[in-house]
C-alpha cells in the first residue's frame, strides 16, 4: 500500500537526532583538524594546514599505516581461510542442525569483545591452555610468548572477524550451483580438482567481497589490539585513541582519524566497484 508523500515527515524526528549525533560531530571532526596546537599543547582555533603537514611529514604515520595494513591483511586472510570451509558447509548442508550451527558461527558477534579477549588471554597466556599443553608435553622449557605482542593481536583479530566473513561468504555463495560440481564429478574429476576448477572460481566474488569488508573492519578495530597488544602494538586505531584521550591533542587525533577514514574510503571504493562487477 503506497502512502501519500507527506509520510516523509515521519522521518523528521529520527533525522533531527542523527543530524545532532552524526552529521554535526563529523563536520566538527573535519573542522578540528584545521586547528593548531599551541606551544603548551593546548588547542588554538585556526584555519591552517599545520596539523596535516605535521601528520603527513611524520615517519611514524607511515609506520602506523604499514603496521595496520599488514596486521589487517594477515588477520583477514586468516579469517577467510578458516571461515571458508564452515561457510561452504553451512551453504550446502541440509542437516536439521544447520540453524543452530549458523547461530553458533555468528554468536561471537554478540559476545562482548572484552570477554572474548579475556578468553584468548586464558588460552594464549604464559600459564594458559596452549602453554600448559606445550610444557606438559615437554615440547618447550619456557612458556611461549603468545599474548601482548603481534601474534596475540593477529589471533584475536582473526577470530573476531570470522562471523562477518562467514556471513559475507554465505551471502555471496548464491551463484554456487551444485549441478556444475556434479557434472564435473560425473566427467571423472577428482574432489580436489573439482574444488580448484569449479567451486573456487565460482566463489571468487564472495571471497573478494568478504575479504574487503573484513579488511575495513580490521583496520578500525581497537579493543582487540589494545588489550591483546599490551601497549606493544602500534596501529592507527590505537594511536587515534592515545592522541585523543591520553595526550588530549584533538587536532592531531582528528587529522589521524580522517586520514584513516580516507584510507578506508579508498578500500570501500574498490569494494563498491567489485560488488558492481560481481552483481
Amino acid at each position: 500500500m503506497k502512502a501519500p508523500a507527506r509520510i516523509a515527515w515521519l522521518a523528521l524526528p529520527a533525522g533531527a537526532v542523527l543530524a545532532f549525533v552524526y552529521v554535526y560531530p563529523m563536520l566538527d571532526l573535519g573542522r578540528m583538524s584545521f586547528n593548531r596546537t599551541g606551544p603548551t599543547g593546548a588547542m588554538v582555533p585556526d584555519w591552517s594546514l599545520a596539523i596535516w603537514r605535521e601528520l603527513l611529514a611524520d615517519p611514524f604515520t607511515l609506520e602506523l599505516t604499514w603496521n595496520s595494513i599488514v596486521l589487517s591483511a594477515v588477520a583477514t586472510t586468516g579469517a577467510l581461510l578458516l571461515a571458508y570451509p564452515l561457510a561452504l558447509f553451512l551453504f550446502r548442508t541440509d542437516s536439521r542442525w544447520r540453524g543452530l550451527i549458523a547461530a553458533i558461527a555468528i554468536t561471537p558477534m554478540l559476545v562482548n569483545g572484552v570477554a572474548r579477549v579475556f578468553g584468548w588471554l586464558a588460552i594464549l597466556g604464559d600459564r594458559g591452555l596452549v602453554n600448559s599443553i606445550l610444557l606438559s608435553a615437554g615440547l618447550v622449557d619456557q612458556p611461549v610468548r603468545l599474548v601482548y605482542n603481534w601474534t596475540g593481536v593477529a589471533i584475536g583479530l582473526t577470530e573476531s572477524l570470522m562471523p562477518y566473513m562467514i556471513l559475507a561468504l554465505m551471502a555471496g555463495f548464491g551463484r554456487l550451483d551444485r549441478t556444475l560440481e556434479e557434472a564435473a564429478a560425473s566427467l571423472g574429476a577428482p574432489p580436489w580438482r573439482r574444488f580448484m576448477r569449479v567451486t573456487l572460481p565460482l566463489s571468487l566474488p564472495a571471497i573478494v567481497l568478504g575479504w574487503l569488508l573484513c579488511f575495513v573492519l580490521a583496520m578500525s578495530a581497537y579493543i582487540t589490539p589494545k588489550l591483546l597488544g599490551g601497549g606493544r602494538v602500534f596501529l592507527l586505531a590505537t594511536e587515534i585513541f592515545e592522541l585523543a584521550v591520553t595526550n588530549v591533542n584533538w587536532p592531531m587525533a582528528a587529522a589521524l582519524a580522517l586520514y584513516t577514514l580516507i584510507l578506508l574510503l579508498l578500500f570501500l571504493a574498490a569494494y563498491g566497484a567489485l560488488a558492481r562487477r560481481a552483481a
Binding site: A5, D28, N112, V114, F118, R127, Y222, I223, A244
Partner: protein, 265 residues
C-alpha cells in the same frame, strides 16, 4: 555419488574444527570463571565460586552494570520511538529523495565506531554531555537508530499488505489501519529490533570509551580498565553472566525472526 561422500565428510570435519575455534574463547571464559586461582591459569588448579562473590561487591563494575542497563533501556526505547516512523516512511513512502534519505539513515553504520566515538567526544564536550547519562544515550543512538531503521524498514516492506488494503477498503481511516493491522503484524520484528538495540548499546565499547569519564563509565569501559590493570578470573565471572544474558536475548530474537537474518545485511 561415490566420490562426493569423502569430500563432504572432510568438509564437515573442517567446519566442526572452525566451530570449535569460534567457541573456544567463550568456553574457556566460562570454565575459568569457576577457578580458585588468583591469576589466569588454565586449566585451573582448583574450583570455587569466589570470583562471583567478589564480583558482587566490586563497586566500579556493579556501578557500570547499572549504568549500562539504564543507558541501554533508554537507547532501546528511543530507537524504537524514533526509528519506527522513519522506517515506515522509508518502506511505505513514495516521495522524491527517498533513496537519498535511506542512504542518510544507513550512513552511520558504514563508519568505524572509532571515528564516530572521537567525533562525538569533540562535539559533545562543549555541551557538557561527556560522562553523562544523556550524552551516553545520544552517542549510542548514532549506531542503534540506523540499525533499527534498517531492520524495521525491511520488516515493513516484507509484511503482507493485503490485510491493510482490506481494512482500508472496509473504511478504516489510515491511523486506525496502522494501529489495528500494521503494528500488530510488525510486533515480532519490533520486539526483536528493540532487543538488539538494547544489546548493541549494552555491548558498545569503543564509542563509550570516548564519551565515558570518571563520573560515569559503562560496564564495557570498566571491563577494559580492569583487564588493562589486572588479569584475574573476576572478568571471566562477569563475562559468563553476560554471555548467559546475551544467549537468552539471542534465543528470544531467533524465536521471533531468525538471528542470522537480523544481523545480516
Amino acid at each position: 555419488m561415490n566420490t562426493g561422500a569423502g569430500a563432504s565428510r572432510s568438509l564437515a570435519f573442517a567446519a566442526a574444527g572452525v566451530i570449535g575455534l569460534l567457541l573456544a574463547p567463550v568456553v574457556v571464559v566460562v570454565v575459568i570463571s569457576f577457578s580458585a586461582d588468583s591469576f589466569i591459569v588454565f586449566p585451573p588448579s582448583g574450583w570455587s565460586l569466589r570470583w562471583y562473590e567478589r564480583l558482587l561487591s566490586h563497586r566500579p563494575l556493579m556501578a557500570g552494570l547499572q549504568l549500562s542497563a539504564t543507558v541501554a533501556a533508554f537507547v532501546a526505547v528511543l530507537s524504537l520511538i524514533l526509528g519506527l516512523p522513519a522506517a515506515l516512511a522509508l518502506a511505505r513512502g513514495n516521495f522524491p529523495g527517498r533513496e537519498a534519505l535511506r542512504a542518510f539513515f544507513l550512513a552511520p553504520l558504514l563508519l568505524p565506531t572509532l571515528v564516530l566515538g572521537l567525533a562525538l567526544l569533540l562535539a559533545f564536550q562543549p555541551f557538557g554531555l561527556i560522562a553523562t547519562l544523556p550524552g551516553l544515550v545520544l552517542a549510542h543512538l548514532t549506531v542503534t537508530l540506523p540499525f533499527v531503521v534498517r531492520m524495521m524498514a525491511t520488516n515493513f516492506a516484507t509484511l503482507p499488505d493485503d490485510l491493510e488494503a482490506a481494512a482500508a477498503t472496509l473504511g478504516a481511516p489510515p491511523l486506525r489501519v496502522f494501529f489495528r493491522v500494521t503494528l500488530p503484524l510488525a510486533a515480532p520484528g519490533l520486539a526483536a529490533s528493540g532487543a538488539l538495540a538494547f544489546l548493541l548499546s549494552f555491548d558498545e565499547t569503543v564509542i563509550s570509551l570516548f564519551v565515558s569519564g570518571p563520573r560515569a563509565s559503562t560496564l564495557p569501559v570498566e571491563m577494559v580498565r580492569y583487564v588493562e590493570g589486572r588479569t584475574d578470573p573476576m572478568i571471566a565471572a562477569l563475562s559468563t553472566v553476560l554471555v548467559c544474558g546475551t544467549l537468552a536475548v539471542a534465543v528470544a530474537v531467533e524465536r521471533m525472526i531468525g538471528l542470522t537474518r537480523a544481523v545480516g545485511r
